[in-house]
Symmetry: C2
Subunit: 284 residues, 2 copies
């Protein structure tokens, strides 16, 4: 019994059902050094496993047994639980599920991944959307590629490998934030399809990732040149600049394409807002 | 005027006051391709700068001017804005402030950094606290050292350098999450004071970081040995194991010390909850 603690992945077996669950504090009874957590919300939706080991505890009319097959968030590598033995508890699943957070926030966590050329308006649209969401009482956070380079990615340069790692880390943080229930908007050039696709594959749920393609001719970006970077790239002061002497691979099947030439920032942000609403991300 | 866009750091000057602000969408008027954002919430609290350049726009009785000295979130390196020229806009500050998010969530973002030996109960207490907060309608997220190694830090090993980088990244993500308004609980051994202190220094506000020391004799952890790691370390199968053949530097001035021997997980989590409440993190 001592191994039954809050936060463990368990199976709950009733007369008609076996469902995965996590021990929580809903009812607690001190047992020795630890305490008994009794199962609360279900984990893993429709998944169910037959218990393959002994029952640990009774709760009402159900039995609690260790879960041998975990479905740990965001990981394909995590090892299964082995409650009762001491060797391989490597993954700590939170007793507060993503679903509970989303219910609390009355929204669904997700990632809008805004990709496009420098100067295409990614950040402007992202921050405008954030503001619109905030006015509707929704929790949004913008992960801006430039900003994150001052912090999490400050150790990275601009080599191909560094850019790849930069995008990987942005994806992982976005994944965590979506798991926290936040509508997460990532604004980063991310010129290569393979890097963007890797991020998509790493998401907890496939429906978490929404690629937003800021479609705009490079000539328009160069004309705008809000950071003066195109000028520097043309002058050879910046090497490997996307759209000038480095390729931009347009998304083949983006969830959303914003024709940047046709709209202003507010209109484009409104389009994203409508997308989120129609896809039920603004409600629980 | 075209360079006045949403999200720019600006100065707002009234008859009696100069205060930093960010252009938002509170009032919008389309101007050419962009649109005019008019200043909303103030940024940077009591800081104020005299404008050192021309006025861009009038808003009511105030003037809007470019802000030359930014105080960008979480960074000491970001360059100043230079609205109107095109060369060095490197930092995109969100028009939705942290303060606005905190108001929305009715809580204050912060980081509880739980440090202590393997088996000291960091994760158990963290997840228990998360549950208690959730029951009070507060948004909390646990960044667990083990879990993050499956994602954001999957490229890192266990050398001194890798551990340092692991902690740095956890700190940066915690910083972002606190900025998003979340009560962020980090559970990671983090044996070295210098690494923990670096994280503290990187926080947006000094009051964001709260070191929680899980105080427990190594002998008790070794007896518990929930993951069998002490056994492996004693057998020489794991090298550099904290508390066995690698040092653990106890915090000298932690904000909170939990005497792990004396309490169970629920009592310790309750202590953290009381701390958060008395320090006004559970209200706006």
């Amino acid at each position: 019994m001592a191994c039954l603690r809050v936060g463990r992945q368990m199976l709950r077996q009733t007369a008609s059902l076996v469902c995965p669950t996590t021990t929580t504090m809903m009812m607690m009874a001190t047992k020795g050094e630890g305490f008994l957590g009794v199962c609360g919300g279900s984990l893993g939706g429709s998944q169910a496993y037959a218990p393959s080991c002994g029952v640990l505890e009774r709760f009402g009319s159900s039995l609690l047994a260790p879960r041998r097959e975990g479905r740990p968030f965001g990981s394909t590598k995590a090892e299964t639980y082995d409650v009762g033995s001491s060797s391989n508890i490597k993954w700590h699943e939170s007793p507060v599920t993503r679903d509970a957070r989303e219910k609390q926030l009355n929204q669904r966590g997700c990632v809008l991944w805004m990709t496009g050329l420098s100067g295409s308006g990614k950040s402007t649209v992202a921050f405008t959307l954030e503001h619109m969401l905030q006015e509707e009482g929704k929790l949004c956070y913008v992960l801006d590629g430039d900003n994150v380079r001052h912090g999490l990615c400050q150790d990275l340069g601009f080599t191909a490998q560094c850019r790849e790692e930069n995008i990987r880390r942005m994806g992982e943080v976005a994944n965590l934030m979506a798991n926290a229930g936040i509508i997460t908007v990532v604004s980063i050039i991310s010129p290569f399809a393979k890097d963007r696709n890797k991020v998509r594959e790493r998401m907890e749920n496939k429906s978490d990732f929404h690629e937003v393609y800021m479609k705009i001719p490079v000539s328009v970006c160069e004309e705008r040149d809000p950071k003066g970077l195109y000028k520097k790239a043309r002058a050879g002061k910046i090497k490997g600049f996307t759209g000038i002497d480095a390729p931009y691979e347009a998304p083949e099947n983006p969830e959303i394409t914003l024709e940047v030439n046709d709209g202003n920032a507010a209109e484009m942000a409104r389009e994203l807002l409508d997308y989120l609403r129609s896809h039920k991300f603004l409600e629980y």
